[in-house]
Amino acid sequence: MAAENPQTTQNTVLVAVFAALIAALGLVPPITVGIIPVPITLQTLGVMLAGALLGPVRGMLSVVVLEVLVLAGLPLLAGGRGGLGVFLGPTGGYVLGWIPAALVIGFLVQHWALRQARPAARFAAVLLSTVVGGIGVVYAFGVPWTAVVAGLPLSTSLLGSLVFVPGDLLKAVVATAVALNVHRSYRRLLGGVQTTSR
């Protein structure tokens, strides 16, 4: 099956290149969006894009590859963090949550959002997918993790995480705009999806 299929190598390369992209987005200076003066780091944006552009399996695998390298000790997370301590620490759940997040985003985008016919509906659907995966799923892992590891009540942990919601919503909007733009020029990326009406 795989031996005769040149697709295998191409998929591996796509997974690796996106893992590198997520890592690189954590190493570049933070970006300011529009008139909002607060700089945002781009790493979660990379996770959202991996899911939205590569689909569930390849998107998830690129996050896995990145996290294996982080686990092995490379300082690839935003702020130069890396090593085992990142996963065992109080915010480890958020980092682990990226894996299912990319899976969920990829699944929703490929099988539901990109099939919307009207551009406005498609934008809204992709945005909803990235919000569900990139915020809902990530926090569903991160909030209880912090609560258990730090011995905090769940409600306190949840309240603390709310600080990051506005920034993450902003990233979801940016990820949606970028993903739709790239899908327009690369229609084969998610296997014959109809992204017409340009």
């Binding site: 295998t8 290149v17 011995g151």
Partner: protein, 209 residues
């Protein structure tokens, strides 16, 4: 990328046992109650980190974020449940992270990857191809500086056009270029017949030794 190669007595211990100790310690930290036990664990964890002989400024930079989060957690717990619970919780978190950092700092990156490859070997039966996995891992490391340079170059160009605060204007060209280079690379790899065969018995090498 992680700087100097690990030194100190812990570097001589193979990665496997270190992971096993870390795993057991993480269970013990939660299973053993009481402040005295946590203080004992904490002293051991600090000793483990110091044994890696990491320069203190570098250690401080690595741990600054951790101290901030633990500080917030401790203050919250002092206010809600009392100082003893706060101390136990903060000490436990710090011990756990210190031990983890001790493992990371005393193990070479290549040794870690070798351990993962050993652990992944059974995955061959699930249809995962070890050759593809190591290709992905090494290619990722190779490409991080490349993509970072490209990002900075594109950002500079868009700055010159006055597109300061338009992340879309930077990210779309970056992604399109990345996807294009991914296509070129996979074509080049296939042209060189890199092993992407499915897991299973390999054909015998043409030249015997």
């Amino acid at each position: 990328m992680t700087g100097a190669s690990p030194a100190g007595p812990l570097a001589a211990v193979p990665a496997g046992p270190k992971f096993a100790v870390l795993f057991l310690a993480s269970i013990a930290l939660y299973a053993v109650p009481g402040l005295p036990a946590q203080i004992g664990f904490f002293v051991l964890a600090v000793a483990a980190v110091l044994l890696t002989r990491t320069p203190l400024p570098r250690l401080a930079r690595m741990l600054a974020g951790l101290f901030l989060v633990v500080g917030i957690v401790a203050v919250t717990l002092v206010l809600t449940t009392g100082w003893e619970a706060a101390a136990v919780s903060a000490l436990r978190l710090l011990s756990l992270c210190f031990l983890a950092y001790a493992v990371t700092l005393s193990t070479a990156f290549s040794e870690m990857l070798a351990l993962f490859e050993t652990l992944l070997r059974p995955a061959r039966h699930l249809g995962l191809n070890p050759a593809q996995i190591s290709l992905a891992l090494s290619m990722t490391i190779r490409f991080i500086p490349e993509i970072r340079t490209q990002y900075l170059a594109i950002r500079e160009a868009q700055f010159a056009r006055g597109l300061h605060h338009r992340p879309v204007a930077v990210l779309v060209p970056l992604l399109v270029r990345t996807l294009e280079s991914a296509q070129e690379i996979s074509a080049a790899i296939d042209a060189r017949c890199y092993d992407s065969a499915p897991p299973g018995p390999r054909p015998a090498p043409p030249v015997s030794d």
